[in-house]
Assembly symmetry: C2
Homo-oligomer: 198 residues x 2
DNA sequence: CCATGAAACGGACCCGGGGTCCGTATCGTA
DNA sequence: TACGATACGGACCCCGGGTCCGTTTCATGG
């Protein structure tokens, strides 16, 4: 009896995908207006989505997985712009400009998605540095830094620059101290300029 | 009947202080050799100290309080060296040297007390930027930066430089990737030099 | 349009950890 | 030594993440 591995794939169920969307939407909304990410519980999300708790865990594995899915969803456009976009974000940009553009993009993303970034980095268990999206940011940034003349330590420098965009720092400055989005961008730009220019 | 607020203070009980020491020692030891801080539970600490759980909470308020007490204990000497020590760490040092010395001190402390720093910054609930010890680091560093000629944004710059010494970053580089203590110091020194020098 | 089995559902349930309560043991003082 | 205050400890509560299983709903083939 031959293996039937050759795509007997039946269509995915309609309610499953519908529920997945509902969960993502509900979670996004809940995280959006809450003081701190750990204030929103899995049961809350399930209730808000009109779904049983098990559906959450079946669809996303665990809490981290759900947040991760939300995060990647929002991140996808920026990711594309970086990997195959046009300068200054795309790969064709001259190194110096690209580093600045990269960091500015990260910062803007973190500002616009404070809740998610905070929820993700604040997921106590695993450090942010183990996540693959951080690896991507770091890898791309390091590659760009490598092409900057007179700059050793591209590895550490990439880490240090990214550290300036940490979610809780952004939350502290923007959310708590009322720093403007544009002020933040200016500050970060000035800082990176100082690091890059000899 | 006059208020008896004028020091009717009786001597603190011997067992109380003894237990406090035992708890601090036990907690320190447990945090020292564990993969991740949240792996060590309050019950564990109580058991290791030969004490009831309630004693922990009576003496330190909550988990954060206990970790905080440990942290401040270790931090005290460095704090003194900064506030009333001799250059390059003390207040009399020229700004540029002091900034470098300050950051180096923070880094060394975080390396030598990774467990504690990680436990403290990783205490999900409250962001590290709300803690008063961070306020102190930041305040001192900002003051020093203020005296560096040609450097605007001393506030943000202080945050950004301190971000390069975040506990989980240190843990990642030193604990996971095997970076040497001296390598870390060199990297950070080079990075800050780039930021400071025009 | 209906029978069928696979896939998804949902909420009761479990577990582990932070934090509390209160009867009891211990200490400092007179 | 007697006494009141203080600290003790472990049983207990609560809440949130994660699981189990009987039931429901869908896609498919007739």
């Amino acid at each position: 009896m031959p293996e039937r591995s050759e795509r007997p794939e039946r269509k995915p169920r309609a309610d499953a995908t519908r529920n997945r969307e509902a969960v993502l939407a509900a979670a996004d909304a809940l995280f959006a207006d809450c003081d701190s990410p750990e204030a929103v519980t899995m049961a809350d999300i399930a209730a808000a989505a009109g779904v049983g708790k098990a559906t959450l865990f079946r669809g996303f594995g665990d809490r981290t997985g759900l947040i991760h899915a939300l995060y990647e969803m929002r991140l996808a456009p920026i990711r594309r712009a970086i990997e195959e976009g046009t300068p200054p974000l795309g790969p064709a940009a001259p190194p110096l400009q690209r580093v600045s553009a990269l960091l500015d993009a990260v910062l803007c993303f973190k500002i616009d998605n404070r809740h998610l970034a905070l929820a993700l980095e604040g997921t106590g268990g695993d450090s942010p540095y183990a996540a693959e999206h951080y690896e991507r940011w770091h890898g791309t940034l390091q590659a760009a830094l490598e092409r900057v003349p007179g700059l050793a330590d591209s590895n550490f420098t990439a880490h240090a620059l990214l550290a300036a965009t940490r979610a809780d720092l952004v939350e502290h400055l923007v959310g708590r101290e009322g720093t403007t989005r544009e002020q933040m961008r200016a500050h970060l730009a000035a800082f990176t300029a100082r690091v890059l220019e000899p």
